[in-house]
């Protein structure tokens, strides 16, 4: 009984890791779409934008 639970936890961890790898480019895409053009270049290593701005979407419409 304990072994199945351990197996389940391991499998779920594996699935979460896989999903993170696969979804990472999508996170980058969404984060970049909310940044200003300057911020893409200025703060290189952040997935979270300093201020969320919808300029890109507004100019799209």
């Amino acid at each position: 009984m304990n072994r199945t639970i351990l197996k389940k936890i391991l499998l779920y961890l594996l699935l979460i890791a896989l999903n993170l790898i696969v979804l990472f480019p999508f996170l980058v895409m969404i984060a970049t779409s909310l940044k200003s053009l300057n911020e893409i270049r200025v703060s290189p290593y952040s997935l979270v934008p300093k201020e969320i701005r919808f300029d890109n979407y507004i100019s799209f419409f």
Partner: protein, 298 residues
């Protein structure tokens, strides 16, 4: 008279041909004509806005003595080997994981399949951001593992590998779904019998799963090989042929020669070479697979 009636009865019904005629008119006009045109153009010096004149096999000699095109063929081969096999192996392993009855995988499957839904151009633009040497995330990940940052697409040594990584990422979801369908088609009674005989996991995989999966694997191999030989979008968007032709592929050369330099004759010859390569590879595939199928039956 009796003879004539017997003859008429033996003959297949002619009206059937009339019924399938509409399809064949469209098929011949839209599929066969372009192919014949490409083959005939490949023997001429056809420029897009000029007269054609017959030049024999000059275009083919030019193609094989053109170092850029030879480089493109090598790149296409490397890309194919580097993309198809990792994608198939990873797709199979992940499908095994998804097929486990212990965990719920509905959401995971959706996420894994997501890259396949996007268009290649959109995906390429995202990965351009990730691969950027100055502010991309790929270098951050390298730094996290204590490796020195790379220039990715700007470096001739790593440009092709970068494109391969992206294509594998995009292809895994599709391979996983097809493999999963194949796995779920295997009757569970096989595994029950194996369990009774005391077979372990690897024996079950090797003796039951892999042989039963051979049609699925074959389908993925053939479509994957053909798709990889025709690689173009990611190359054109991400590198445009790459630093010092490091990532140029056959289709990219065809596109450049045909629609940038307007050498339609030369581009046609390159296309014909690609068609021949793909045909040979597919025929080898079918030959090998029919042999292995016979072995399975025996």
């Amino acid at each position: 008279m009796a003879k004539l009636i017997r003859f008429m009865k033996k003959m297949p019904d002619k009206s059937g041909y009339l019924l399938i005629l509409p399809f064949f008119i469209i098929f011949i006009y839209f599929w066969i004509t372009p192919i014949v045109n490409v083959v005939t153009d490949s023997f001429t010096d056809y420029q897009l806005f000029g007269a054609k004149s017959f030049t024999g096999i000059d275009n083919y000699i030019k193609a094989f003595s053109d170092t850029t095109f030879v480089k493109a063929m090598i790149n296409t081969l490397l890309y194919t080997v580097g993309t198809v096999f990792p994608t198939m192996i990873l797709g199979f392993l992940i499908a095994q994981l998804m097929n486990s009855s212990l965990v719920r995988t509905k959401i995971t499957r959706t996420f894994m399949f997501l890259p396949h839904v996007l268009s290649m151009v959109a995906v390429s633009v995202i990965w351009l951001l990730i691969y950027d040497p100055a502010y991309g995330h790929a270098n951050l990940i390298l730094k996290f593992f204590g490796m020195s940052p790379s220039k990715w697409l700007q470096n001739p040594d790593t440009a092709l590998i970068s494109i391969i990584i992206m294509s594998v990422w995009k292809g895994i979801g599709y391979n996983m779904i097809i493999n999963l369908a194949g796995l779920q088609n295997i009757p569970s009674s096989f595994y029950e019998v194996a369990d009774l005989d005391g077979a372990n996991y690897f024996q079950k995989t090797w003796k039951i799963t892999l042989p039963m999966m051979s049609p699925t694997t074959f389908f993925l191999l053939v479509t994957g090989l053909i798709g990889s030989f025709n690689v173009f979008e990611q190359v054109n968007v991400m590198t445009g042929g790459g630093p010092a032709n490091a990532t140029t592929t056959i289709i990219h050369q065809v596109y450049l020669n045909g629609f940038t330099y307007f050498n339609m004759g030369y581009a046609s010859a390159q296309s014909v070479i690609l068609i021949v390569i793909v045909l040979i590879v597919t025929m080898i595939n079918f030959r090998v697979s029919s042999k292995s199928a016979e072995v399975d039956m025996g």
